[in-house]
Symmetry: C2
Subunit: 277 residues, 2 copies
């Protein structure tokens, strides 16, 4: 999927919502535990209820990996179900991988070939050759960590480079944006640091940003839209717990849809205000 | 396993060799492909042939993940087989994980509980709260990326902090070494940067360092030992392809043992020279 195709889906759905599938077997409604694959059944219900208001889903790989083989099976079925349900969905493996070349190549194969993801989140610490095996898949995206939404972001991401005076996350944006075109690279910028988006947009005016941290982590959608929207939207805002766990009862999918639709409606307002639809 | 227990195993085996299980189904001897689980059969043969000369094994998780569920099954059986074969082995999941707290907690559960690893490699970019869920497992280790062995290490790891004049990897060593004791934290330092070990030992004199990059990547064991050994050895030197793929014929396990034993003998010399045995 290209940058332009992603924007077209956003326009069509009047939404830039990404739903995080952080599916934890200890948090899903108890009646699902009687099914053969509770994690998949939960995801399926969420997907069936929300696929027309979300532009992307982002399974959080740790949640599946922690369940061993069973988890990987649920993950595979989830991606397959999304593909079967809609062609207008961008699927991100939130995996935060990054390793030496031959190892990253194996991860790329895992997420792009074995599972059929459009994109994977990657960590920049090891530099260009740790990301290039992902970029070698021309139809696929690398979503590179820049400024994260957690408290630990302050440990290293704000270190200022003696030579350029730039912060580490700014160096990451500046350097990594040269590794491929905006059709293959996206950056993670936490919603909890929305005020930084003005400066970030000076470095990467055209790139899509994946923005976690709205909802449970306290970030504001309004602020993110105000400082982050560009002329092709350029934002995918993720919400996980705030949508998928909004109800823990039998009506969980219905309530998830209500929450997702509320968020989408707010997004539609910002898209209109910026003349993007 | 504590820092002191790890040193005792090193003394007993006169070795600080870690064997990397980067097991690629396309590189293993063809006669194994007829077995039900070729990746496990390969690992089993390597382990049976080398467990008395190696102090650690390091399965490279990407290689298993790229095979989907089948790969995770092979991984689980491999860890189990190591545990059954010897009590004197340290097992590292080379996974390079690191994410926000609740996600890292899931990875910790996966590698420390579901699979029974002693340690996991983690990426420092997201800071302390991305690592603390791993450190919460008191008997387990976090092996934090500091200075990696690949070319991309120069992209960000050498950025010099305007305030302290320290390089990013030095800040990582300095900061992360305060997150837990040397019984729980180890650092990755690539063998291809052996000359940096003198300065690194000024920052972390007592910590164990996991050193990849000897062999296929061109690092020198002699240089690593010269600059990296401390009074409790403090080194685990990894070799993967140089040992496990030394022969692609039926004699692969035997040749792997020969290569491992050659390396161990060289290590024994350095241990003696430094009065560690």
């Amino acid at each position: 999927m290209t940058h332009e195709q992603l924007f077209q889906i956003i326009q069509k759905k009047r939404s830039f919502l990404c739903i995080g599938l952080d599916t934890d077997i200890q948090k899903i409604p108890s009646h699902l535990l009687e099914t053969e694959d509770p994690v998949f059944e939960f995801n399926k219900a969420i997907i069936d209820a929300t696929h027309d208001v979300a532009v992307a889903y982002k399974p959080n790989i740790a949640f599946y990996e922690s369940m061993g083989m069973k988890g990987w099976e649920s993950l595979g079925k989830t991606v397959e179900h999304i593909r079967k349900t809609s062609k207008d969905i961008f699927i991100i493996a939130d995996a935060k991988r990054g390793d030496i070349g031959n190892t990253s190549a194996m991860y790329a194969k895992a997420f792009f070939n074995t599972y059929n993801f459009d994109a994977i989140t990657v960590a920049p610490y090891m530099g260009q050759d740790s990301i290039s095996p992902f970029i070698a898949y021309k139809e696929k995206w690398s979503v590179i960590l820049a400024l994260t939404s957690n408290a630990g972001a302050f440990d290293f991401q704000f270190i200022e480079d003696e030579v350029s005076g730039k912060k580490l996350f700014e160096k990451v944006l500046e350097t990594a944006s040269t590794w491929a075109t905006k059709d293959q690279i996206m950056f993670v910028v936490g919603a909890t640091k929305a005020e930084a988006l003005t400066d970030i947009r000076k470095i990467v005016p055209d790139h899509f940003l994946l923005v976690p941290g709205v909802g449970a982590q306290g970030g504001s959608l309004q602020e993110v839209a105000k400082y982050g929207l560009n002329e092709r939207c350029g934002l995918l805002v993720n919400s996980s717990r705030g949508i998928i766990y909004a109800s823990k009862e039998n009506d969980f999918a219905e309530i998830a849809r209500q929450k997702a639709e509320e968020t989408r409606k707010e997004m539609e307002v910002y898209l209109r205000q910026n003349h993007l639809i």
